[in-house]
Symmetry: C2
Subunit: 331 residues, 2 copies
């Protein structure tokens, strides 16, 4: 295992420290560095908070800033943040309009965010959205039901923009729940990852193998198959994603090809070109696109394809200004 790190114990703190220093115009650490929060809080808007294990950067800290998240809590690698961290994020960012917690569907995350919401409930109004965008995950080892994976970026951007525009807590919750069934993702890995603490590779793939249906914690996927040309791989992802969406074609969609950490932009764009052709052949109108490394699984070689069916209001929320480390436009 060769990674740019000093010790497994210090790597998350050191990486976050570098992140905050690199983006000090956008973010600050909260008290005792329990979370990373937006530098200039907007008074009177709902605070949007997310978090999860480390190892998925730039998610979620890279989405803290105007038009997206107000705070992000980071746990250790592939480990939920503690309820204490999440309560701190709530206390530091709730300016009176309440808090929306965006939680990826993993048992540890769901439990700790729930516990934090209970602890803070006496003094804060809180709603929670659970992200479950992965295609139907039989035998998922860390969640009940669909996992939250790269579709999280879409949810956080749209709800962040809606909160910034003044939408209230109840309406945000309804919007999040309405979006959820219309966002689907499937991933593929060409190489497993080594978790620094254990120094163990999560799964090993031979030269001629790939793993389909992977999540973002190095857990094995649904199927191990022979490695094939990109046309075939991307077709497998798109077919599953499209089949798992509630309606077919003739709709505006956002197409998002996400790198899992070890795959370079040139390969992501090549995959995007294939996915775009396939989605258009299935009669979807690709109205917006995102290609890049936004939700990682350490340095995994692999990618995921996310398709999100969005109406006109949601496309406008996608276009709204955003100023974060990882997503920035119009601001």
């Amino acid at each position: 295992m060769k990674k740019f790190m000093n010790t497994a114990e210090s790597m998350v703190a050191e990486s976050l420290d570098g992140f905050v220093r690199a983006h000090e115009e956008l973010v600050v650490f909260s008290a005792e560095r329990k979370c990373v929060r937006r530098k200039d809080l907007a008074r009177g808007k709902v605070a949007v908070i997310s978090g999860g294990g480390a190892g998925h950067e730039p998610m979620h800290v890279g989405f803290v800033g105007r038009g997206m998240l107000d705070a992000a809590c980071t746990g250790h690698v592939f480990t939920s943040p503690t309820p204490d961290q999440i309560v701190n994020a709530i206390e530091e960012t709730d300016t009176g309009a309440g808090c929306l917690l965006i939680v990826k569907n993993y048992d540890g995350d769901v439990m700790n965010f729930e516990m934090a919401a209970e602890m803070a409930a006496g003094t804060h109004r809180i709603e929670t959205i659970i992200v479950r965008d992965d295609i139907d995950t039989d035998g998922a080892t860390r969640s009940h039901g669909r996992r939250g994976v790269s579709g999280t970026v879409v949810i956080e951007k749209l709800l962040g923009a809606a909160a910034e525009s003044g939408m209230g807590l109840g309406e945000l919750k309804l919007l999040g729940e309405a979006l959820s069934p219309r966002i689907r993702t499937m991933g593929v890995a060409l190489r497993g990852v080594t978790v620094p603490d254990t120094q163990r590779i999560t799964f090993s793939l031979a030269d001629g193998e790939m793993e389909l249906g992977v999540g973002i914690h190095g857990e094995p996927g649904h199927m191990r198959e022979a490695f094939t040309p990109a046309d075939d791989i991307v077709a497998r992802l798109c077919e599953n994603v499209i089949a798992d969406l509630p309606s077919q074609g003739r709709q505006n969609a956002l197409l998002f090809v996400n790198g899992l950490g070890g795959t370079p932009p040139a390969e992501l764009y090549l995959a995007y070109g294939i996915a775009r052709r396939l989605c258009e052949a299935a009669d979807f109108r690709i109205a917006r696109s995102l290609v890049g490394t936004y939700v990682t699984s350490l340095d995994m070689a692999g990618l995921s394809v996310t398709l999100a069916l969005l109406d006109e209001r949601e496309l406008k929320l996608w276009d709204d200004p955003v100023a974060t480390a990882a997503l920035r436009w119009g601001a």
Copy 2:
């Protein structure tokens, strides 16, 4: 070798096709797809053109757009674009104020851009800036003297912003030459890369080894050494970069940690934190920062550190609005 591709012959064209489709609001292909150019050309400004081999994405196509490049020509993997492509870029983007060619110092690139400039000289005013930001490269195999590496991003951003603000061709040339000695870069690789055409790995590193002083074409670096903790690796890079700059400390600088393709954001931020501490200890004032995967060497695991000494006018040019696929702010 597992990469998301179909054939070695088609991969560059397919990747560029995906890129242009993903960013169709910013860029278009020129005639016969010889280059990628800005969708809405600004009349009356100097056209800024760059290019080079494929395999370095998002450079250069990712820097085409308002406030940076007007066109980028892409050759095959690690191979210069042809003079014909470059002439096409000149013809498609020169609106009367002349063209500035930004060329990384590799023999093939320098020769082909020079030939294109000669071919177009009868009908276009042309100046050329050669980027040579690598630390002193003894035994470089592809260039005479210092190679052009990630510092290219800084040159292209600053000259692009200056051209956008109306600076004339002669003044742009002077600014580029003044910047050149104040930008230095050094890279390290933890894993070599396999070039798709040859299916050969460029250099092999054992588990406990790293390669210091690498370029971006898989050529070996200066030194092969035992792999060490990040503190030591980043110190080696920073020491060499600082020693190779014309003046020491007490100056505004831009610090740029660049991923070479296979290194995830979490590791880049960790390295940034170390580099920042070391540069500040050497009395540089880190006025601007950039952390991310901008100049790649296929899927190489590795990174580079660039330090650029910038005056107030140049910092302002860095801050000027830019709207490209890879760099975007203020627009």
